[in-house]
């Protein structure tokens, strides 16, 4: 019996059955059918436990949501204290917490003047696109093929057709897509001079973290300037020290006109997202500050959590930890490419943003399962199943990092076995 006080379940099977019946049949069945029968129960640090008690090290961390680990005690304490005084607040009025967080954010975002708050990343992207449209008085948005920016109206329109066509919500006339790392295609699209903005994940996550070619982001920004468009950086997965710098765009030496961060800024405990704007891109707030309303955007308890997140990230120890993790996993996968090149062919890496490349076109799906069986949870890239998203949180300790590598190596024969059994086996050679 699993007794959670307000509800009880007799077994994990009962949860899965009822989840299919009442919550989301497709999603629930997908995982069951993939051999990943996970219902997350207890969680702490970078470790999650299935209802059955199975322990898993979390390298998925939901795109950085759990960058600081699950139920980070500092963040939880912060939220609890904040709740002694605050609720989500009234979005119409200025607030102490929102003001303090906005000021703190502007200070760590050189070149930006305003912080706009929403409860989630998709809405934050919508705000970014709206702001760009207002500032340029143009409608069209360029994004990357297999880019990913969320599921609300405008953010979804920038993304893969899989998520928009099903809802008859694709808008090819206003949302143009070009291949990643293709500057010529980008320039062709921009040269119509009717583009409001280019939106780019600094490193495309759902696409499996293909690394931008040298100077790509900067060249896109230069082209934007040349053709009167704005540059929006989607920093949801690359912000908050994950690339080694506070923001990914700093790692690549590019100054966006707008950027968006979400997931990690919530500490995994209070939904939160930010859109950083300049005087120019935030100009609509002078004309009509209530033109975009979000009742729970900038909810005050979340402001405290976000402030604590920023405080943690400023600690030199945390920056050092990211550098050590970067080097450690970089070395470990270089060694694995040497010793197990038939399975693993490369590592895409910027800081602790990593994608493990497999020889087999669906290698990451099998790897995900083999790792799951061996106590590690890492998800494949849904838009490139050759690549496993490998995303340790910034506070991961040496001991846990070593354990991850141990488990990865132990899982390698199982990966090899699953790949061999797969319907369309292709040799690495």
């Amino acid at each position: 019996m699993f007794d959670y006080g307000m509800f009880k379940f007799s077994s994990k099977e009962e949860v899965i059955e009822k989840s299919i019946a009442y919550w989301n049949p497709g999603k629930t069945k997908f995982w069951r059918d993939s051999g990943i029968d996970l219902v997350i129960d207890k969680r702490e640090g970078y470790v999650i436990h299935d209802m059955d008690g199975k322990r898993l090290i979390d390298l998925h961390i939901n795109g950085g949501t759990f960058n600081f680990g699950h139920r980070n005690t500092e963040l939880i304490d912060t939220l609890k204290i904040a709740l002694d005084h605050f609720d989500i607040g009234n979005h119409w009025f200025p607030s102490v917490a929102r003001t303090a967080l906005a000021e703190a954010l502007v200070k760590v975002c050189p070149g930006f003047d305003y912080a706009f708050f929403t409860p989630g990343g998709a809405e934050a992207i919508d705000v970014a696109i709206k702001s760009a449209r207002y500032a340029t008085q143009r409608r069209k948005i360029i994004s990357i093929i297999k880019g990913y920016h969320g599921h609300s109206g405008l953010s979804m329109a920038t993304g893969d057709a899989r998520f928009s066509k099903i809802f008859l919500s694709d808008r090819p006339d206003e949302f143009i897509q070009v291949p990643f790392n293709d500057l010529a295609a980008m320039e062709r699209a921009l040269s119509s001079r009717d583009i409001a903005a280019v939106i780019l994940e600094t490193i495309p996550a759902t696409y499996g973290f293909p690394m931008p070619h040298d100077g790509y982001n900067q060249s896109v920004k230069a082209l934007c300037e040349q053709y009167g468009a704005l540059y929006i950086a989607d920093e949801v997965q690359t912000g908050l020290l994950r690339t080694g710098e506070m923001w990914g765009w700093q790692s690549y030496g590019v100054q966006p006109d707008i950027f968006v961060n979400a997931k990690g800024i919530s500490g995994g405990i209070y939904p939160f997202a930010i859109t950083m704007l300049t005087k120019r891109t935030g100009a609509w707030m002078e004309e009509d500050g209530a033109a975009h309303i979000s009742t729970s955007g900038g909810a005050e308890p979340g402001c405290f959590v976000a402030l604590k997140v920023l405080e943690i990230l400023k600690r030199p120890e945390v920056r050092a930890n990211v550098q050590y993790l970067t080097r450690y996993f970089g070395d470990a996968f270089r060694d694995m490419v040497q010793s197990d090149g038939d399975v693993i062919v490369g590592l895409r890496q910027k800081g602790v943003v990593m994608g493990v490349e497999f020889a087999h076109p669906e290698g990451a799906v099998h790897a995900s399962r083999a790792l799951y069986e061996n106590g590690v949870w890492a998800i494949f890239s849904s838009l490139d199943k050759r690549v496993l998203q490998f995303k340790p949180g910034v506070l991961m300790s040496y001991a846990l990092a070593e354990e991850v590598v141990d488990r990865f190596r132990v899982a390698l024969p199982r990966m090899r076995e699953l790949i061999a059994q797969a319907p369309s086996v292709r040799s690495a050679a």
Binding site: I81, E317, A332, S397, Y398
Partner: protein, 510 residues
Amino acid sequence: MATETAKLNFTSHSDTHGAMLDRARWAATTFARYDRAATLKIARAVAQAAHSQAARYAEWAVRETGFGVVGHKRLKNELCSLGIFETHKNTDWTGPTIDRDRKLVRIGRPAGVILALTPSTNPVATVFFKTILALLTRNAIIICPHPAAKACCADAADLLAAEAVKAGAPDGVIQVVREPSIPALEGLMGDERVDLVVATGGPAVVRAAYRSGTPALGVGPGNGPVYVDSSADLTAAAARIVESKSFDNSILCTNESVVLAENAIADQLLNTLRAAGAHVCSPGERESLRAFLWSDKGFNVGAIGKDAAVIARACGFTIAGDAKILLVPIDRLLPEEHFTREKLCPVLGFAPVGGVDEAIRAARSMTRKSGGGHSAAIHSQNETTIMTYAAAVSALRTVVNAPCSQGAAGFGTNLGPTMTIGTGFMGGSALGENLTPASLMNWSSIAYPTDERVPFGNFEGLTPWQTPNSIVSVPSQLARSVPALDELALLREQIRSLVRDELKSALGRT
């Protein structure tokens, strides 16, 4: 509104120590793969940097804590930097060492992450000392200073950390707890991410270190008896005792506490001590002094490391300008006599005894409650007396015909300079020797059968840490930037003469 918001207190919910320990672990793991040359390069650079700032930190420590004498602290800082490095650098703390005859190979295994508690009495000298020992043995160290000396210690630790990294050490190898407190310290000592606690401080701290469950080397307080028998050179003995008691105003826990003078020479010794710079207190002065130094709460911290003249003035009497210590004749060598207890200030008890047996009884009585396992001194030419005394007193080091402050701490003796005196089992400690690099590491042994038919392997030239699948990379520039042997030898000689000169001036003789 101010009163409302004051309710929200976030300060107690900061986990900077966890981040610090994780960083130290990365550093320790990386550092453990450095070879001897790279390790020595780092330790030497740090020792030099520490030495060059010895005067500055001596002045700062006295200013911040109010304890001690700047000149003497400077000397301790110098000895605990290059002096320590010089003392230990010729020993291989890294390995592998090969013993063909015994068919053994030994590979150094650092403790890992060391939590080092440093006292307010010898703050920066202890930071230097423990850091250099930790570096020589490829450990990461986290300094937790006494709150009364946190600023100078943090500054010194930052300096050493920067120098270490500049010399090729891994990031985070030296860190410091900036806001030390009892709860913070207890949390750190009990944290599984700490491999070893090295505690220098009061008995409460040492016991807490052992209670923490983490392997610990804690050293207890001292209370050194000094016996002077009729065979001693009284003039020399008196000079040494005054020299020792006035050294950094008795702040080293190795300082003499009570002179036990053999009856036959007691009066003469009293006079020689007076001539050497001791002010002999009258019974009235003794009682003022007693009231000033001790209260229900224990020893007056305000007296620690103060000049004799300052203490006398606080007690309402004046002393001659050249008097360096206050000598207090006492009658009863029993625990209720305050002057038999530890005094980290230039106040020295004086009592005649019938002979070595009574001296031993008195010495044992002095250290029964506190001070056991620490230090004792004797001034004598009689080896039987010396050996009888040393075997019976509750001390693990008895220095002969030398100032105890310096001698028991390894300055001018061959005990090896230290700021951490092992008080052994009789002093509630797992450490009996003075702390050395050996205390901070283990050795992994490779052992072959003694059976001659099984040949010993050839390990010459093998490096245990550069394994092909090494997953923690050592900065590549290290291998190239280690100075050539000649350069090292030259430097070694320079340092040796430097240390020699300092010892000479410290001890007033060769």
